[in-house]
Structure formats: structure tokens, C-alpha cells
């Protein structure tokens, strides 16, 4: 499984979402609320063995923005 597939799976599993995850944004679905956001961040950290900075957690507002943020941790999607 490549990083893109892993990244997509994190969103699908965190939110039990089977739609187009590439279009997801914070609060666009009910599952991505403040609790869902923390579950998503924890799942990402476990999947890619990283520890996200607080500023990056706050900036992580969409699937697309997340790709940009993960590149700072040498995770290329």
C-alpha cells in the first residue's frame, strides 16, 4: 500500500466514510467535528509514525491541506 492509499484509508476509517475523501474538509461531514479531528490526527500519527505539532493540527483543515502538512514530516503523498 502506498502513502496515498494509506492516507485515504486513514480518512475512511476515522470517519467511516466511503465517499470521495479527497473533497473532505473540516466540518463538511458530521463525523469530522472536533472529536473526529483528534481521532484523525491520532490515526495519522500512528500510520506514518510521526508526531504532529500543535500548529499543524490546527492548520489541518482539509484532505488537501493535510498532504501539504505531511510533506513537512517527510511523508510524501
Amino acid at each position: 500500500m502506498n502513502n496515498l492509499e494509506k492516507y485515504q484509508n486513514v480518512f475512511k476509517e476515522s470517519f467511516q466514510f466511503e465517499g470521495d475523501v479527497a473533497q473532505l474538509e473540516y466540518q463538511a461531514i458530521t463525523e469530522w467535528d472536533s472529536v473526529g479531528h483528534m481521532q484523525l490526527m491520532a490515526h495519522l500519527e500512528d500510520t506514518f509514525s510521526i508526531e504532529l505539532d500543535v500548529d499543524d493540527i490546527i492548520d489541518f483543515s482539509s484532505f488537501k491541506k493535510g498532504i501539504e502538512i505531511l510533506s513537512k514530516y517527510n511523508v510524501t503523498i
Binding site: 474538509e25 473540516y26 466540518q27 463538511a28 472536533s34 472529536v35 479531528h37 483528534m38 481521532q39 490526527m41 491520532a42 500543535v54 493540527i57 490546527i58 492548520d59 489541518f60 483543515s61 482539509s62 491541506k65
Partner: protein, 157 residues
């Protein structure tokens, strides 16, 4: 501060926001903040629910047993200075098992373990006993909204 910590009822009320008639732990002991907590709840026939559950066979309702477990569990992290007095919300309850009926005059002893506390989400478990007999056990995921809010995105894009 000498470890482990103990809390009487006023100390419990200073740490968590549950109040009568929905506060179901009388004393907390053996607390290592961020790791574990134990609690005691004494049930007398004066409890408000016994006449209703049931008039001919009073025993502690399951949801109250679960509340006693989780109210002990949250003391494992609300005992930390920076978290005292914060509200909590259930995220999930799993693997609930009831092994024994609890009747008036019995005392429940609860042992709770915090497995992780990450950015306002706590997960762990608790188990209760009457004497040597196991009464109830469950795994919990609990949120501290005040902490969660510090990490949520400022706006959607």
C-alpha cells in the same frame, strides 16, 4: 504533593462536574494522575433509584454501575492540576460486562486505568468489585471538550 493522591467528596467535586443525584463515587484513593485511580461507592436504600428499580427487588441499575466506573476513571486524569474542574463527554463505551447484582448495603470498589490521554481524548478501562467478587467492567473513551477545542481547525476551507 505526595503520591498516591486521595480525594474526599469535596475533592471529587473540585475535580469533576458530576453532582447529586448523578454523582456515583464517594471517595477516591490510590491516584497517580495520568495513570490510575480507585474509588469507593456505598449504596444504601436511601439512594433515589432503589424504590423504582425494583420495589420488590432493589438493585443498582446497570447505567449507574457504568457511571460509577467512568466517574472513577475520569479521576485518573482530572486529578491533574491543569485539568481539574473540566467537563467530560462520553465518546465510546465498549466491552461492558455485568457479573453481579449490587443490592442495598453493599460497597463497590472500583479500579480504573488510563491507557492514554492525547489532546483531550482519554481511553482506558475500569473494573468494580463487591468484596472479592467482580461486579462490572468496561472500556471507555472520554473527551475533555475544553482541551479538544484548543486543537480544532480555526475555519473550514
Amino acid at each position: 504533593m505526595t503520591l498516591p493522591l486521595s480525594f474526599d467528596i469535596n475533592g471529587i467535586k473540585a475535580c469533576q462536574r458530576n453532582r447529586h443525584p448523578l454523582l456515583f463515587v464517594d471517595r477516591i484513593f490510590d491516584v497517580i494522575p495520568g495513570e490510575k485511580a480507585s474509588g469507593v461507592k456505598c449504596f444504601t436504600y436511601n439512594e433515589w433509584f432503589f424504590p423504582a428499580h425494583f420495589d420488590d427487588e432493589p438493585n443498582v441499575p446497570g447505567f449507574i454501575q457504568v457511571e460509577a466506573l467512568v466517574q472513577t476513571f475520569i479521576m485518573s486524569f482530572l486529578s491533574k492540576e491543569e485539568l481539574r474542574g473540566k467537563k467530560t463527554n462520553f465518546i465510546g463505551i465498549n466491552n461492558v460486562r455485568f457479573k453481579r447484582k449490587i443490592v442495598p448495603g453493599e460497597t463497590l470498589t472500583i479500579h480504573a486505568t488510563l491507557q492514554s490521554f492525547r489532546r483531550g481524548i482519554a481511553s482506558g478501562s475500569a473494573v468494580s468489585f463487591v468484596g472479592e467478587d467482580q461486579a462490572c467492567s468496561a472500556d471507555f473513551v472520554v473527551a475533555v471538550p475544553d482541551v479538544l477545542d484548543q486543537f480544532k481547525p480555526k475555519e473550514s476551507h
